[in-house]
């Protein structure tokens, strides 16, 4: 099949890219790995007039400094897997990335793309949320950062403005225990993605879970209080966590061809329980 016609911009530097976005940001689709836009165009679900290739902007760096990780927009998933810092200091991210697609697609797909896509099945968003992720947005007006749930406005819609380019995503290094699990049924896309983390802050244990795929927007659940109340009884804690998920999201849970609402809610509670079990284990 032949792709529908479009005009391709290949800016040579960031300023050129920002010019394009300033002029017609609402008509332009930004393209790095292209794993999303290619599919949508093939399926007849997207007809962008303009596509902007950002692979020549030099946004290929991974920086680790003072406990902060910065991953620029052009960095591919396999480049991250090969990166020692990711493997040793950002195990949650590492585990997450290895679950995305397959080795071949990971040669092209980018981490920033996965997050900015904001699809319900976006695998990397839970890690973004639990590691205090921030999107670095640049436009001709300057640079700003948007982090956490504020970045996700609706299904496949983020706080990014039409004239902004996501230059990079930042993560905090959090010293604690973390675990990622996804569930893929009879589709290559996840039904649900769950990350859990436990770390100490000001003498308290914090236990949090982030989920995509359960509802329209990503979700963060703070289980710190339930964990403290359980006083070391892991089984009781996990049971409570599961009950919480099942009751709290009963009406909001989405349903689609990949999973019914009922099953999705159940699998989410299973993954929440399984990830929490790993992170609270002594």
């Amino acid at each position: 099949m032949i792709l529908p016609p479009f005009k391709l911009y290949k800016p040579r530097n960031i300023d050129e890219a920002l010019e394009v976005l300033e002029e017609r940001g609402d008509e332009v689709v930004v393209f790095a790995g292209g794993t999303k836009i290619m599919l949508l165009m093939q399926w007849g679900m997207a007809r962008p007039n303009y596509i902007m290739d950002i692979k020549s902007l030099g946004l290929n760096h991974v920086k680790y400094e003072d406990g902060k990780l910065t991953v620029e927009a052009g960095v591919t998933l396999n480049e991250l897997i090969d990166n020692e810092v990711i493997r040793e200091r950002f195990s949650l991210l590492y585990e997450t990335i290895k679950s995305i697609a397959d080795d071949i697609i990971r040669n092209k797909a980018t981490l920033v793309g996965n997050i900015v896509d904001a699809a319900p099945y976006a695998t990397a968003v839970p890690a973004f949320l639990l590691l205090n992720g921030k999107a670095v947005l640049r436009s001709k007006e300057g640079t700003r950062e948007v982090g956490g749930l504020d970045f996700f406005v609706d299904i496949m819609k983020t706080a990014q403005k039409p004239n902004e380019l996501v230059i990079a995503i930042q993560f905090d290094e959090i010293k604690g225990k973390a675990k990622f699990l996804d569930f893929k049924g009879d589709s290559l896309f996840s039904v649900v993605n769950v990350a859990a983390i436990k770390y100490s802050q000001d003498g308290h244990d914090l236990v949090k879970v982030a989920i995509t795929g359960l509802t329209n927007k990503p979700v963060i659940v703070d289980f710190s209080d339930q964990y403290a109340e359980s006083k070391g009884n892991v089984d009781a804690f996990l049971r409570k966590a599961r009950e919480y998920i099942r009751s709290e999201y009963k009406t909001e849970v989405i349903a689609d061809a990949r999973a019914s609402a009922n099953y999705r809610l159940h699998v989410t509670s299973v993954l929440v329980s399984r990830t929490l079990e790993v992170v609270v284990h002594e």
Binding site: M1, P4, P5, G185, D186, S187, R242, A257, R258, A259
Partner: protein
């Protein structure tokens, strides 16, 4: 010498170096491109088609609608389909117009500019509803269509494209004597072949009125025959070319877009026109696999003798009958599979629904029936408190008994009992499944299978064997190379019979109906059996000719001539031998006189004793049957319902493995495809008939990380009475019992019966929740 050797495939070098030719990649000089405009309604009258904007788009040569082709009807068994929808559409995706342009891009852009006004009609997507429904008819003219009388039985004024009944003994009597009766329902979703090369056709007309077609199709002679019929032209005026086929699995078994593309070419003055579908289009516009709703009721004695078997299949054919009516028929006449039961009553109804239509698929109705039969057998065993292995042993057909449709079984069909016992031993058959941890269980399951080709009794194969001037040999058969490898085995047979190395034998890997030897169709696991035998007959004919010539050269009787190791000699004087090349063109005497001429052997094969089925579905339909056994070990995560296949054992009595690696490849391939069919694959439709997953992300096909590393293949060789070197077919067989074996293993693991295919995690979880909620307590 060559029989039983695993030589490399004759097509392997071309395929691994990317040189292999497929129609999808072909270009002819002056070729135009066609794109289809597809229906957006599942069931609707076509009020108006606006083609102006498309017709005037740059580079567009023509826009054709169903109106211009309305007098042509297509259909292998029921002529129910127009090449382009006229007056009415019956599924979302049905072609309603075709745009022909100088470039593929122009055709595609222009196709989007065709505007169709529809008047929606009520939509029926559920096959059971279609079966009952009398007011809403998908084919209101069903009573007026031409159809294959005596074979197919459409019921006018219904949505039933074919009704088939099998009767044996007295079913009421059987149930009245039963001490326990077990009833169950089973379902199977519609599925897709996902052959690697999407449907592709090129057609052109030569100045003398000859139609030339290149097509990715399994059966060039069927394409020729059915196109001739559809277009009302003689077969001598059609040439069908088939190069390598990028997979078929039954999806390309009959005739598909060839007549349409032929007419498109005609309407642009005979210029070559190519239609090649994208994967997405292939999901929508090319046919897939039937869906099934089945009900089965079995009567047994308390000690496990099955004495009554009743079943009803409702077979979902989608918008058109195509090959699916015969799939439904076969699902009926395979009856109770490998089991010897005196009283049988099976009804099979193939129905129309407003969904993309279905065609042949690997297993051809016998696949679907085995899900039902082999699951039901296990459920009966559970209810009787019997070991499923023992119950099978007690009820399988044995030499001297007969299959459900009356065909007798004897030693020449192979050893089913040996297959069963080996599978059971190799999987380590024991008791109930083991618990690995709180939520992970393992279990083992068994299944048996049987299939023979579902073919017209008079189907035949032909072969030519021709000697070249240097004594090398050319052989021609009608079987296409669709990935199955039959052609390689044929080369081995020729090499063996003449005693020459395989590289001195050439087989026509590409088909040309004006030149290749004929075979009925490349389907049904029939190819090696039929074409192999035809080749043996052709070789015998060639040898006859060689002997007659050599007899005169050596001054002996033809019966005194031996042909061995590429040499021809009189038995009483082997040292004075001729090379094949000395006789290939006839023998020339020193004075210039000739004895005989160029050697060309021709032969055919059929089974003259096969019969049609009578009004009770009884007869002698199978040229051979292949028996096999399947055993599997699975692991289940009860919390998610996910099933993982750990180990698989597949045992088949193929009679003779002419190329053991190829046989093994079929067995492994069938197992893998079977696991995919059992656990993942499903065409998902919404209530409006729209296909929700026309892509390979949401239509999940098994990938390498889901394949068990442990697949044990066992080949038994108890020769077939009629097979070449005793060989039987295997192509479909290895897939037949996989789903049921897995379903049976799930019960062994967690005591839960699954009745739906595919056994997706959600479905397995639901079954566990309903039947053994205690396993999920607190979850």
């Amino acid at each position: 010498m060559y029989i039983g050797k695993s030589i490399y495939r004759v097509d392997s070098l071309e395929k691994v170096t990317g040189r292999a030719l497929y129609v999808f990649d072909m270009e002819l000089p002056g070729m135009l491109y066609a794109k289809l405009v597809r229906s957006t309604e599942a069931h609707a009258k076509i009020k108006k088609i606006n083609i102006e904007r498309a017709r005037t788009y740059p580079s567009v040569v023509a826009v054709i609608t169903g109106e211009q082709l309305r007098e042509y009807k297509v259909g292998i068994y029921v002529a129910d389909r127009n090449m382009l929808a006229w007056d009415k559409v019956r599924f979302i995706g049905e072609p309603v117009a075709a745009v022909i342009a100088e470039t593929e891009e122009a055709a595609e852009r222009a196709a989007e500019l065709v505007d169709v006004d529809y008047e929606p009609l009520p939509v029926i997507t559920d096959p059971e509803r279609a079966f009952e429904e009398r007011a809403v008819l998908i084919h209101e003219n069903l009573g007026k269509y031409d159809y294959y009388r005596g074979y197919i039985n459409p019921i006018p004024n219904t949505n039933i494209a074919n009704k088939f009944v099998l009767r044996r003994g007295n079913i009421e009597d059987g149930f009245s004597k039963s001490e326990m009766v077990i009833e169950n329902n089973f379902t199977e979703d519609m599925m897709n072949h996902v052959y690697m090369e999407p449907m592709s056709v090129i057609a052109q007309w030569l100045p003398d009125g000859t139609l030339e077609i290149w097509t990715s199709a399994q059966s060039p002679f069927a394409v020729r025959y059915l196109t001739a019929k559809a277009l009302h032209i003689p077969e001598s005026k059609i040439i069908v070319h088939v190069p390598y086929v990028g997979g078929g699995f039954g999806g390309k078994a009959g005739v598909n877009f060839e007549p349409l593309v032929a007419m498109l070419s005609k309407m642009v003055g005979g210029r070559p026109v190519k239609l090649a579908l994208s994967r997405y289009e292939n999901f929508l516009a090319a046919p897939s696999k039937v869906g099934v709703r089945a009900w089965v009721k079995t009567g047994v004695t308390k000690d496990g003798k099955i004495i009554a078997w009743q079943a009803r299949y409702i077979v979902d054919s989608g918008g058109y009958a195509d090959y699916a009516v015969n799939v439904g028929r076969t699902m009926g006449y395979i009856g109770a599979g490998v089991y010897d039961i005196p009283n049988i009553y099976v009804e099979s109804y193939t129905v129309y629904t407003n969904k993309p239509y279905a065609t042949a698929f690997r297993g051809f109705g016998v696949l679907e029936a085995h899900w039902v039969i082999e699951r039901q057998i296990d459920i009966i065993a559970h209810k009787l408190g019997m070991d499923p292995f023992e119950l099978r042993l007690k009820n399988i057909v044995r030499p001297g008994s007969s299959l459900s449709m009356g065909q007798r079984v004897d030693k020449g069909n192979g050893d089913l009992e040996q297959c069963l016992k080996m599978a059971k031993d190799l999987i380590g058959w024991g008791k109930l499944g083991e618990k690995v941890d709180d939520y992970t269980y393992r279990g083992k399951g068994l299944a048996l299978s049987i299939k023979g080709p579902s073919v017209p009794a008079n189907n035949a194969a032909q072969a030519f064997v021709r000697l070249n001037e240097d004594g090398t040999i050319d052989v021609s058969i009608g079987t296409t190379e669709i990935g199955q490898g039959t052609l390689t085995s044929i080369v081995q047979i020729v090499a063996e019979e003449f005693g020459v190395p395989t590289d001195r034998v050439r087989i026509d890997t590409f088909k040309d109906t004006s030149k290749s030897a004929y075979t009925w169709q490349t389907v049904g696991s029939r190819s090696l059996f039929y074409d192999g035998n035809a080749v043996l007959a052709a070789i015998a004919d060639a040898k006859d000719q060689i002997r007659k010539i050599a007899a005169r050269v050596f001054n002996v009787e033809p019966s005194d001539i031996e042909i061995r190791n590429g040499k021809v000699f009189a038995r009483n004087n082997p040292s004075s031998a001729l090379d094949l090349k000395d006789i290939a063109m006839g023998y020339t005497l020193p004075n210039g006189n000739t004895i005989g001429g160029p050697i060309m052997g021709r032969g055919y094969f059929n089974r003259p004793d096969l019969t049609v089925l009578n009004e009770n579905g009884q007869g002698n339909p199978f040229p051979f049957v292949t028996f096999g056994a399947h055993a599997v070990e699975v692991e289940i995560d009860v919390l998610t319902g996910r099933v993982k296949v750990l180990r698989y054992v597949t045992v088949f009595d193929v009679g003779k493995a002419i190329n053991p690696e190829l046989v093994k490849g079929q067995m492994i391939g069938g197992t893998i495809m079977g696991i995919s069919y059992a656990l993942y694959e499903s065409l998902k439709f919404d209530e409006g008939g729209a296909l929700l997953n026309p892509n390979l992300i949401d239509y999940k096909v098994i990938r390498s990380n889901n394949i068990p590393s442990d697949i044990i293949t066992i080949i038994l060789e108890n020769p077939d009475t009629y097979g070449p070197y005793g060989a039987r077919g295997i192509g479909e067989n290895a897939m037949l019992g996989v789903a049921a074996a897995i379903g049976n293993a799930i019960y062994n693991a967690v005591g839960v019966e699954v009745h739906e295919l595919p056994m997706t995690p959600e479905r397995v979880w639901r079954a566990i929740k309903e039947q053994r909620p205690e396993l999920l307590e607190g979850w």
